[in-house]
């Protein structure tokens, strides 16, 4: 019992650090990935050594050559910037909005199962809780768009909210299939059900639950995973669903008027939301902290489980970036077409399929 308490305390601290570290790493990764895909180099100058040199004002350390500390330096720069509130803005709501957006993302982090004893808040309805609390961020976005008294901001906020609300339907239905197979809403138990060999992962059907017959769910689970992944892109306003932030039409969407640290908080919240979205995908479909090879899991190397989890999430984040730098932005009507004519029918089909499987084959 004491052991669990200590682990929980540690995991809370880890989560606090994780949000900002995830943001910083993702921003660096995004810049590098985008650069490489466009035959550029990306940040190259600001290594940790150069940053330390700049702070102490002497050339003591060896200068970096791949720009590892670039996003850290950017964060330091944003911290020092002037905090500008536009003249026509609603000051109270303007200052409240980033806190709500960040709060929604951070609250979602609390339920992520990094390892068996590494769940800061092991809630029984973890999945439901994450879906619920992330809807809180929607209101923060609306608030930001309205309070900045900027037409781009308001348009971006409206688009963003409409998109997030409508894509919650396919997300919900596609996740229900997994919930039906597992019979639980607890993220931890879902991961525990996927331990063992990698074919126990829900991406490959329900083998761990019902033995070999679970393989009949394989195509459906693949479709579910694709649909969930697509919708999580739309939920987090990533390309090709980035019409709320469309740089070429809306400047920056709902955070157009934000500068300095408030802008940085929006940025961190955005990357945090991407992390949460892909973490759910990893938890539900890709086996969470399980490496997929039972020998490795049984070796009990300390700290390997969260590492496996975070690695898997970052592989998915890489795919998110890869998609972003490949596909052009959708139009609003195309967005709604995709959601209502393709994603929702397919999720309903998979839902039906899984129901039949659950009722007649188990």
């Amino acid at each position: 019992m004491d052991n669990i308490l200590v682990w929980t305390m540690i995991s809370i601290l880890v989560m606090v650090g994780l949000v900002s570290v995830v943001g910083i790493i993702s921003i660096y990764l995004e810049r590098k990935v985008s650069a490489f895909m466009q035959d550029r180099l990306g940040p190259m100058e600001v290594g940790f050594g150069s940053l330390a040199n700049a702070i102490i004002g002497k050339k003591t350390f060896k200068e970096g050559r791949i720009g590892l500390a670039q996003s850290l330096a950017d964060g330091l720069k944003l911290l020092q910037k002037e905090d500008i509130v536009p003249k026509g803005a609603d000051v109270f709501l303007f200052k409240l909005a980033p806190m709500i957006v960040f709060g929604g993302t951070f609250a979602a982090f609390a339920a992520l199962p990094l390892a068996e004893y590494f769940v800061p808040a092991d809630i029984n309805i973890g999945l439901f809780y994450i879906l619920a609390i992330s809807s809180f961020g929607v209101t923060g976005i609306l608030m930001a768009g309205w309070a900045s008294n900027n037409k781009w901001g308001l348009l971006g906020a409206l688009r963003s909210t409409a998109q997030m609300v409508s894509y919650e339907i396919p997300i919900g239905v596609s996740l229900i299939s997994i919930v039906m197979i597992c019979g639980t809403l607890s993220l931890k138990e879902m991961v525990l059900a996927q331990s063992g060999w990698f074919w126990n992962w829900h991406l490959f059907g329900a083998i761990s639950h019902n033995g070999a017959i679970g393989i009949v769910l394989l195509p459906v689970m693949f479709i579910n995973f694709l649909i969930y992944f697509t919708c999580s892109l739309a939920e987090t306003n990533r390309a090709p669903f980035d019409i709320p932030e469309a740089e070429s039409e809306l400047v920056a969407g709902y955070h157009t008027e934000y500068t300095g640290m408030r802008f940085a908080i929006f940025f961190l919240a955005e990357y945090g939301a991407i992390f949460v979205g892909n973490a759910i995908a990893v938890t539900l479909f890709l086996g969470g902290w399980n490496s997929g090879i039972p020998m490795l899991d049984e070796a009990n190397i300390p700290g390997i489980a969260p590492l496996i989890f975070i690695t898997k999430v970052f592989v998915l984040i890489f795919v998110v970036m890869w998609v972003r730098w490949t596909l052009p932005r959708l139009r609003v009507d195309q967005l709604m077409n995709l959601c209502w004519k393709y994603l929702i029918p397919f999720t309903l089909f998979t839902f039906f399929y899984v129901t039949i499987y659950k009722v007649f084959l188990t």
Binding site: I125, A132, S135, F136, T139, W146, T161, V165
Partner: protein, 169 residues
């Protein structure tokens, strides 16, 4: 005072204060946002009462759904967010008397009810299973009726919102 009481006080203050903002604030957008926080506080009360699924539902339906719907209504209505509601009250005496009478009735009800304070010693038990069983067992008919009602509403919305030009051709 146990910590739960303290949390309850915070949540109750949040709900009541936000309720006051909803009623009395002159800007309608503030009222909408305050309503949202009020809903959020109610969700917190549910968690305090060990109703975890209900709290999640409260968040999804009220905070993520209804509040956003209200906000959308406000933001999409032309010029409504610059509107300030009228602050002068015309029927002070009748209105005041009605509210006082209502308050008195409520207070009398609250003080005369024999509240049964249940102290649970048992561990927190998840409720999703019971709720699911109830939906699929005793309450299957209301559940299915609600589903049909929602489906009818959905189809009705699609038909109303559909482009009518095609029918003319």
């Amino acid at each position: 005072m146990v910590p739960a009481d303290f949390v309850f006080l915070i949540l109750a203050t949040l709900i009541v204060a936000c309720g006051f903002v909803v009623v009395f604030h002159s800007k309608i957008i503030y009222s909408a946002f305050a309503l949202l926080f009020s809903f959020f506080g109610v969700g917190g009360i549910y968690i305090l009462l060990n109703a975890d699924f209900l709290a999640g539902t409260q968040l999804i339906v009220y905070v993520g759904g209804i509040s956003v719907l209200i906000l959308f209504g406000i933001l999409l209505t032309k010029k409504i967010y610059n509107l300030t509601t009228e602050e002068t009250s015309t029927q002070k005496i009748i209105g005041g008397a009605t509210s006082l009478a209502f308050l008195g009735a409520l207070a009398a009800l609250i003080f005369n009810t024999d509240w049964q304070i249940v102290t649970t010693t048992q561990e927190f038990t998840p409720q999703t299973l019971e709720i699911g069983k109830a939906f699929m067992g005793n309450f299957i008919l209301p559940f299915e009726l609600a589903a049909i009602l929602l489906l009818v509403a959905l189809i009705g919305a699609v038909i109303i919102g559909r482009d009518e030009k095609k029918e003319e051709i």
